[in-house]
Amino acid sequence: MFKHETVETNAGWLIILTLLAIGVGGLVEIVPLYMIDETVEKVEGVRPYTPLEQRGRDIYIREGCYTCHSQMIRPFRDEMMRYGHYSLAAESQYDHPFQWGSKRTGPDLARLGGKYSNEWHVQHLVAPRSVVPESIMPNYPWLLEDKLDISDISDRMKALKLVGVPYSETKAEFDANVEKFGKDVAEMLDINKATENLIAQAQSGNYDGNKSDITEMDALVAYLQVLGTMVDYSKYDEEYFVNFR
């Protein structure tokens, strides 16, 4: 009979069988990536983040929000009734890295956008217990005081472009974005206009209630307010999403 000892004492067998085991694991992990086009739902409206939202996302990650909040509504009745429509793969296609998570100390945030007012978010981030008495979330008062560092926004967008987010640098890329997302969105994705776009959105949105400065709060609230709002679910039959599985 083939004994474990045979493998442990024979380098040739060990190499062959190790490769075989890794090969199976690799196939299971890698092959589906080639079919990813069929896995990601084709839906309208999903776009990369604007410069301000992207900076907000960076702050979300910096402050470790993901350690307590997931961004993934699972396809279960209780989750759907509490949070809204389950998350689609398409909705995080421009997230690097995605924020799905599996640790929910706080509630899921995948459909937070538009649920509460900007004022609520500011109040809640500065002093969570003033609006949710039973909350155990820490206070983040510095977000309101710290000015947003916008000096490196183009570099950040370029880095994301390297991993596949369609921010545009050249005229051809810009035109492709106009084709794909429409003119208004394409403008926001233009790396050459990143700084002015960021400032314009922060000023017109006035997310932190303070018009004079662009704070980290502006960016974070802008990001939170766009979460899960890009797809209009009233346009699709549930059957459409089932067919992607």
Partner: protein, 304 residues
């Protein structure tokens, strides 16, 4: 070393020896463990056959003898291979819980607001269903039970309504949200603001300086009546507050201990104005859910 293998009585060793006599047994795995292991292997194979599993070229094994039939949005029955999304579609419409709930939901959908309020069974259903909705969606601002946060989020249990407390008003507030805005009156002189705050306090029966209140009344007539009305009873069409009752939604007058502090609270509002925003819920909640919430909020205490 292999010659030491069978020297230790009936127990096999691996043949290694460390520090002279430290040896490693080579016992066979326990029989029960081996059988349990084989059982998991067999389970895995059965699982692969029944449930979606291995990738196959451009597709994957979808599982045999295991389909789900659910109702799509058009009400047609669709049968598909087992997957979590189809299972959810089934759960949302055809599961026991959903079917039992839908009986009540249908009743409530077809009933008018006053019919629901008069029917104890429908009210009980509404309360238990909408309590969860309220907790998930409304309590973050209006607080558990609807008591609100003074200065920020209106109280829903008292008799004072910024936008009206009828079923229709409440439904509209939930459906479309509200944007409350009072401009600031920073440009008034300090004396004017002081007189005005005396006058506003006098409206709700506070003991104030009559002379000051009288000149404050003039400031009020010139600046405030457009929204709050000549009688200062507010205007529910634009969410202007009634200033003649003892209920305050922005200035924390009840929380201030003396007249001076009450005036400071009012002057703060005059100085800064107020801008509040309640998001629209029509895209997030279904028509049924909004109806249930409307009845629930109306029943919290102050419905008209």
């Amino acid at each position: 070393m292999s010659e030491q293998k069978h020297t230790e009585g009936s127990v096999q060793t691996t043949g290694h020896a460390w520090d002279g006599d430290l040896q490693e047994f080579n016992n066979p795995l326990p029989r029960w463990w081996v059988w349990a292991f084989y059982a998991t292997v067999i389970f895995a194979i059965v699982y692969w056959i029944i449930y979606p599993s291995w990738p196959m070229g451009g597709s994957y094994l979808k599982g045999v003898m295991n389909t789900i039939t659910y109702e799509n949005d058009k009400g047609e029955e669709v049968t598909t291979h087992w997957n979590t999304r189809a299972l959810l579609a089934y759960d949302m419409k055809n599961s026991d819980a959903a079917v039992r709930q839908s009986e009540y939901l249908e009743k409530v959908t077809n009933a008018s607001y006053s019919q629901i309020a008069q029917d104890p069974e429908m009210m009980a259903f509404t309360r238990s269903y909408a309590k969860g909705l309220f907790g998930d969606n409304c309590a973050a601002c209006h607080q558990q039970g609807g008591v609100g946060v003074i200065g920020k989020y209106p109280n829903l249990v008292d008799d004072s309504w910024l936008y009206g407390g009828t079923y229709v008003n409440i439904e509209q507030s939930i459906q479309n949200g509200r944007r409350g805005n009072m401009p600031n009156f920073e440009s008034l002189s300090d004396k004017q603001k002081d007189d005005l705050s005396e006058y506003v306090l006098s409206l709700s029966g506070h003991e104030v300086n009559r002379n000051k209140a009288q000149s404050g009344a003039k400031v009020f007539q010139a600046n405030c009546v457009a929204c709050h009305g000549a009688d200062a009873e507010g205007n529910t069409a634009i969410g202007a507050a009634n200033l003649t009752d003892r209920i305050w939604t922005v200035a924390d007058v009840p929380g201030a201990s003396n007249l001076e502090a009450k005036k400071v609270a009012i002057k703060q509002v005059i100085n800064n104005g107020i801008s509040r925003h309640m998001p629209a819920w029509s895209g997030r909640l279904s028509g049924d859910e909004i109806k249930l919430l409307t009845v629930y909020v109306h029943s919290l205490g102050g419905g008209q």
